[in-house]
C-alpha cells in the first residue's frame, strides 16, 4: 500500500544508439506514513469529484453538440470530405449557397423518381459540367470506386463523358480523385448522411448530362446544336452493375425507363 503524492521529472542526459539525448525521467514521491496515505487518498478522490461537480454551475464548459437536433444550423468546414459530387459552374446562379448546401446534403436521400425530376423541370444549362471523361480519377482511385463510361460525341466528334459512376459503398473518401482531376470537375462536399434502406441506391451517376465540357458547349452559338450535344442522365439507371439492378433475392428498383445508350456507350 502506498500513495504516489507527486510526480517529478528529472532532466538528465542518456546515451542511446551512440547519441546523447536529453531525457526526463519520471520519478515518484511516495507518502511515507499511513495517516498521510489516508489523507491524500481521500483528498485525491474529492478533488476529482469536485472537478466533475463544477459542471453543474458552469454549463458553458459543456462541449456536447446535439447532432440530430442541430442539423439546421450545422456548419461543416469548407474542405470537409463527404460525398463526391460534380461541380456545376452555372449552378450558383440558380440557387443561393445555403440552398445549394441543403440540396447537396439531402441529394442522396431522395428516391430515384425524385432525383430525376430535374429532367422535366429545370433548365439544362444549370448542369453543364467540366468533366471531359479523361479517366484520371478512375486511375487514381485506390478502391476502383469510380467508373468512367465515355461515348463518341455527335457534334464535336470527340470522346466525351457518358456516365460518371461513383460507388459510394466502396469509397473511402481519400480525396485522390479530386486531387487527380486536371479539369477541376469534381469536389467532395458536406454530405455525410448516406444511410439508405437499399444498397442498390449506393451506386449512381454523378453527371446530369452526357456531353462535352461546359466551355465547348457554350462556344457553340446555335441553340439547336447546343441541345443536340447533350443528353439527360438520371441518377440511377444505365448498364451499371448494382445501379438499381436486381441482386439475388432482390428485384430491380422500380426506375424510370433508362435512355437507350447502346449506340453511344463505350
Amino acid at each position: 500500500m502506498g500513495m504516489i503524492r507527486s510526480i517529478e521529472t528529472v532532466t538528465a542526459q542518456r546515451v542511446i544508439a551512440g547519441k546523447t539525448i536529453s531525457v526526463s525521467v519520471v520519478q515518484r514521491k511516495q507518502t511515507p506514513n499511513k495517516l498521510s496515505i489516508a489523507f491524500n487518498a481521500v483528498l485525491g478522490l474529492l478533488k476529482g469529484m469536485w472537478l466533475t461537480l463544477t459542471y453543474f454551475w458552469s454549463p458553458e464548459k459543456v462541449v456536447t453538440r446535439m447532432y440530430p437536433e442541430n442539423r439546421d444550423t450545422l456548419q461543416l468546414t469548407e474542405r470537409f470530405r463527404g460525398n463526391l459530387r460534380f461541380k456545376f459552374p452555372n449552378e450558383t446562379a440558380h440557387k443561393s449557397h445555403a440552398a445549394l448546401l441543403e440540396h447537396i446534403t439531402h441529394e442522396t436521400q431522395t428516391l430515384p423518381e425524385v432525383a430525376s425530376e430535374w429532367i422535366r423541370d429545370e433548365d439544362p444549362t444549370r448542369w453543364y459540367h467540366n468533366c471531359t471523361g479523361c479517366s484520371k480519377c478512375e486511375e487514381a482511385c485506390p478502391n476502383a470506386s469510380i467508373r468512367i463510361l465515355t461515348r463518341q460525341g455527335e457534334i464535336l466528334e470527340d470522346r466525351e463523358i457518358d456516365r460518371f459512376v461513383w460507388r459510394l459503398d466502396s469509397c473511402m473518401f481519400c480525396n485522390a480523385c479530386v486531387l487527380a482531376c486536371p479539369w477541376d470537375a469534381i469536389e467532395m462536399t458536406g454530405g455525410f448522411e448516406n444511410a439508405v434502406y437499399d444498397r442498390r441506391l449506393l451506386v449512381y451517376c454523378l453527371n446530369k448530362l452526357a456531353g462535352p465540357r461546359i466551355n465547348l458547349i457554350q462556344d457553340e452559338q446555335d441553340a439547336a446544336v447546343r441541345a443536340r450535344m447533350i443528353d439527360p442522365r438520371e441518377r440511377f439507371g444505365g448498364p451499371i452493375p448494382m445501379n438499381g439492378a436486381g441482386l439475388p433475392n432482390l428485384p430491380p428498383v422500380a426506375l424510370p425507363a433508362p435512355p437507350d445508350v447502346s449506340t453511344g456507350a463505350a
Binding site: 500500500m1 502506498g2 500513495m3 504516489i4 510526480i7 521529472t9 532532466t11 542518456r14 542511446i16 544508439a17 547519441k19 539525448i21 536529453s22 531525457v23 526526463s24 525521467v25 519520471v26 520519478q27 515518484r28 491524500n40 487518498a41 483528498l43 485525491g44 478522490l45 478533488k47 476529482g48 472537478l51 466533475t52 462541449v63 468546414t77 469548407e78 474542405r79 470537409f80 470530405r81 484520371k136 487514381a140 482511385c141 485506390p142 473511402m172 473518401f173 481519400c174 480525396n175 485522390a176 486531387l179 487527380a180 486536371p182 467532395m188
Partner: protein, 387 residues
Amino acid sequence: MSVQVRTLDDLLHAPLDADSELTTQEYLVNMGPQHPIAHGSLRVVLRLDGETVKHVIPVPGYVHRGVEKMCEHLTYRQIIPYTDRLDYLSAIMNNWAVAKTVEKAANIPTNERIDTIRTIMSELQRLQSHALWWGVTGMDLGAYTAFLYGFREREIIGEIFEETIGARLTMNYIQPGGLMYDIKPDFAQKVKNLLPYLKGCIEQYETLLSGNVIFQERLRNIGILDGKHAIALGCTGPVLRASGVPYDLRAVEPYGVYDKVNFNVVVGEVGDCWDRYYVRLEEMRESVRIVEQLIDNIPEGPHATIRYNEEIILPEGLHYGQVETARGVFGVFIASDGKNKCPIRLHFRSPNFNNLWIVTAIASGWRIADFISIQSSLDLVIPDIDR
C-alpha cells in the same frame, strides 16, 4: 519472466493442471474478440487458475484485411489512404512513414514548410491519440468520466484537422513530395489558442485520474517489464521508454524538423503500468512544447514539390523508412523492381504487433483485473496488429 515459443494448438490442448489440495482446476477463457476492453477484435485466451492468470495466448487476426497484399496492386500515392486504416489514431504519422520512404528512394525533395507542417500535425495527432488513450484507460479501469474528458480534447483537435484536411480520422494528408492541402491562414492562430487550453486539460487529467488512489493501486507495480526484455521483445514507443530505454526516433534519428526543436524523451524507472501511464502524460506536455516552438514561424513555400499526377517509380531494390508514431516505430519496407508504379512486395512494421506480445511475458501470475490494466497500458490498436 520467461518467453516460450509454442503453437496455439499446443497451448490450447496442453493438459490442465489440477490442484489436489484445493480441488480446483485450471481452465481456459476467451477474452474477446468481442469484449468491452478489447478496443477492437482482439481475442486473448487466458489460462486461469481461479482468478489468477497462468498464461496469456493472444490470437490476432480478426481484423485482418490483407493490406500489405492489397498494396502490391496500388501506386505509392494509393497506399497512403490504406495506412490511415492501420493505426487509425496515428494516421498522419503512418502517412508520413510511406511518404518518407518514397521520398528517400525516389529522391523527391521537400522544403522547410512541408517538414514543419508535417511535424506540427504529427504532434497534434500524438496529443489526440494520447488523449483518447487516457480516456479509454480510465474507462477500462472503471472511471467512465475520464472517457468523456479524453474525447473532449480529441474532438477539439479534430476540429483543427477537419478545417485543414477535411477529415477527422482517416486523413490521407501527407503525400510523397508534400501535403494534400496547404494550411489555412488562420491555422497558426487557432493552434496557438488551443495550446494553453490543452495544458490546462493535462492538469485536469492529473486531478481526475493520477491523483485517484484506486487508479494508482490498479497501476502501480503491476506488469513490470524491464528494459532488457522490452528490447528483446521488440517493443517500441512509450512501452519501451517506460522501461527506461530512451529510444525515440524523433531524437535518435531525427526526421522532419525534430532536430531543430528542444524536447525531452520521457523515460520511466520501474517499467510498470504506472510508468507507461505517466510517460504518455509527460509526452503530451512535450508535444505541446514542440508545437509551441514551431507554430510561430512556419516558413513560406509551396505545399507540394511535385504534381499530384506525376508518376512515382522507385529504383530497383529494397527501401525502408520509419517514423515514431504515438505507439512506437512504424516502418515501411518496400521492394521495388524499378519498372512498375506499384511495389512488388511491401511490409509494414507496426508497433502494436510487437507491443502486444509482451503480455505473454508479463501478465502471468497477475489477476484478471490486473491483466486489464496491463492491456490498457499498452495502448493497443487492433487493426494495426492484424493489418
